[in-house]
């Protein structure tokens, strides 16, 4: 039932998106309301039923991926507070982002959330909805506050078996449907950019080094890292591990000797720090990618599925081209 609901909603939105296409100007970033979508949007989100009688007006976003999703849809004016941001937003949204207020450096408390009287809390990680975090979903719902998690980030249920760009675009469409706006232009742009990406990593291997030092925490076989690596033709050394991210083993990495190492760059764990880890460990210091400096860098916020996924893949491809000379 829940899956059917979601499919029906997404299919309906796609149809509306198509019909709304002609009306939207080619470069408008402003939301274009869809009149016919005034009925409630009901869907199952990570196994939790949510229903939106009208487009949310007062939104708190937790994690950069959610803030950027709304900015990309031209919904920056609906955000009354952001929390747990991973870094600065890309230049294209910087103007809109300048007006945003950060309410917490990390996960806000439930009281801090309630204080702002939001009608939606939109989180990039399902785990932020807990009694000792931003509040349990059922509690917030009973207070009239809707909750939503980017579906690709679901953990309890509803996570894609293996993330594809269809899932990424479907996430964007689902969010657009909640806000009664048209995502077709954004998705068309992203599809076009995706189609133009050169899979120049073909035939070569890569390690997605997310964090850790003694035990590396790596991008595994079913999440955003795998999707981005596949898109540029690279074979993920941890592709066989059935997880989005997973603790891995240096021996297995050294055994493969990957051609490239992807470094996730976060303010709290920079790409430079990871290079230091690789060079300090005598076994990994001898990896060909380390010796030749064949690193590909991805900003942390772009390493999670969302509106920056296509751009992240394009950037990987460009970095490969640069290293290939």
């Amino acid at each position: 039932m829940s899956v059917l609901t979601r499919v029906a909603v997404v299919a309906g939105v796609s149809a509306l998106a198509l019909s709304g296409c002609a009306a939207a100007g080619p470069q408008t970033a402003a939301p274009s309301p869809i009149d016919s979508a005034s009925q409630p949007v009901a869907l199952s989100n990570c196994g939790f039923d949510v229903s939106f009688d009208s487009a949310p007006e007062r939104v708190i976003t937790i994690k950069s991926s959610t803030t950027e999703m709304l900015l990309a849809l031209g919904l920056g004016d609906r955000i009354i507070g952001t929390a747990f941001q991973d870094g600065p937003v890309p230049a294209e949204w910087a103007t809109a982002a300048a007006a945003l207020t950060s309410i917490a450096e990390r996960v806000p408390s439930e009281e801090a959330v309630l204080d702002l009287e939001p009608d939606l809390v939109f989180a990039g990680w399902e785990s932020t909805f807990s009694a000792d975090g931003a509040g349990a979903r059922a509690d917030l719902t009973s207070l009239g506050i809707n909750t939503f998690v980017a579906p690709s980030a679901c953990q309890s249920s509803g996570q894609p078996a293996k993330l594809s760009f269809d899932d990424v675009f479907s996430d964007i469409e689902t969010v657009a449907s909640i806000f009664r706006v048209d995502a077709s232009e954004l998705i068309a742009d992203q599809s076009a950019q995706l189609a133009s990406i050169d899979a120049n990593g073909a035939g070569r291997t890569a390690l997605w080094f997310s964090s850790g030092s003694d035990t590396p925490y790596v991008g595994a076989g079913i999440g955003a890292p795998q999707l981005l690596l596949e898109t540029v033709g690279l074979t993920n050394v941890a592709a066989d591990v059935d997880a989005t991210w997973a603790p891995y083993n240096w021996e297995a990495v050294v055994d493969v000797d990957p051609d490239f190492i992807v470094l996730v760059d976060a303010a709290w764990n920079s790409a430079e720090k990871k290079i230091g880890v690789l060079e300090a460990n005598p076994a990994t210091a001898n990896l060909s990618a380390v010796k030749a400096g064949r690193y590909l860098v991805v900003p942390f916020a772009a390493s999670e599925a969302g509106v920056r996924s296509v751009e992240a893949a394009a950037s990987l491809s460009a970095q490969i081209a640069e290293l290939d000379g």
Binding site: S210, W250, A252
Partner: protein, 336 residues
């Protein structure tokens, strides 16, 4: 249950340890043949030429061998410290971490992992462990003569404080997925063990551990209480202080490279007691040997069970150790 001859058990464990190290180093996610592994190790010892490429040679020499040797040393050190701690506090629930050592070490380690203190992690953990121990002993000493129960209670107080500060630091400053590294350390892991870890742990075993192993007769006199020990001519207070300090140094060295691996120090001495009896002259060296064998295999499982994923060895030690210990307990019950 019939007691085993300590000498027979000791010989069996010594052989088992050599075999375990020999075999464990050939097991891992990368498929390298038994003879290739040992020819590679031989080449580093000046015998022949390694048949492996530089990278695969690094797997054997930089990752596997130091890790297996560290596991053996840490296992021996923890089991020995546990046995000594149980004897001098006359508390069967005592373990090497009892006097606040692991909480102090954790605080030191977390300060490095999360606050980015500019010192090496093992050093910070070691200093943390010793500070906690000093606090424990000062507190116990301020209550009068240092008795077992006062020391244990003081240890509980210091542990609670250090744990609270550690939790606060984690809660306050953990970002993104850096909690994973902290968690792995808190659960006990040997994945970071390289040659410096071998040097630290082996030195602790040789310089402090082996002399402590020879104090069995002294500890036997403790078994019936301080007064009896004193009547046997033992300087109770000096002995207790000396052994506490020695085991604390050993444990501090172990915890500094491995985090707090549970179970080994608490349960293995009991397992040895069930097999050979409570005499400390046999108990101390046998506990050390059994601890070494046990941790070599526990860590081999930790790195290969879910190959190529890894889990903290502390999870494995408890998961395998608890059922084995329960089995030993039931065997004893049926025979008494």
């Amino acid at each position: 249950m019939a007691k085993v001859s300590p000498f027979a058990l000791g010989s069996a464990l010594a052989i088992a340890l050599l075999v375990s190290i020999t075999v464990a180093v050939t097991i891992g996610p990368a498929e390298i043949r038994f003879d290739e592994v040992w020819r590679s190790i031989g080449s580093h010892l000046g015998i022949g030429v390694s048949p492996l490429t530089e990278l695969r040679d690094g797997i054997v020499w930089q990752l596997r061998l130091p890790r297996v040797l560290t596991a053996a040393a840490v296992g021996a050190g923890l089991a020995l410290s546990g046995a000594v701690m149980q004897a001098i506090t006359r508390n069967p629930l005592a373990d090497p971490y009892l006097l606040g050592l692991s909480s102090g070490a954790a605080l030191g380690a977390v300060s490095v992992l999360l606050l980015g203190a500019a010192v090496l992690l093992p050093f910070a953990a070691f200093v943390g462990a010793l500070l906690a121990l000093t606090l424990t002993l000062l507190l116990a000493g301020s209550l009068g003569a240092i008795t077992p129960s006062r020391t244990v209670l003081a240890g509980i107080a210091v542990s609670a404080l250090a744990s609270a500060i550690t939790s606060f630091v984690i809660f306050w400053s953990v970002t993104g997925d850096s909690y994973r590294e902290v968690l792995s350390w808190l659960l006990g892991s040997l994945s970071g063990a390289r040659w410096p870890a071998v040097a630290i742990t082996m030195t602790a075993i040789i310089v402090i551990g082996i002399p402590v192993m020879l104090t069995g007769r002294l500890l036997d006199s403790f078994a019936f209480g301080d007064i009896q020990a004193a009547s046997l001519g033992v300087n109770v207070s000096a002995t207790r202080w000396g052994l506490l300090a020695a085991t604390a140094l050993v444990t501090g060295a172990m915890v500094s490279v491995s985090g707090s691996i549970g179970f080994v120090g608490l349960i293995l001495p009991h397992a040895v007691r069930l097999l050979v009896g409570a005499g400390h002259r046999a108990l101390l060296p046998l506990s050390a040997l059994l601890g070494a064998v046990f941790l070599v295999w526990a860590d081999t499982l930790a790195r290969t069970l879910f190959d190529p994923r890894e889990i903290p060895v502390g999870i494995v030690t408890a998961m395998i150790g608890a059922p084995i210990f329960a089995f030993l307990l039931t065997r004893r019950k049926s025979s008494t």
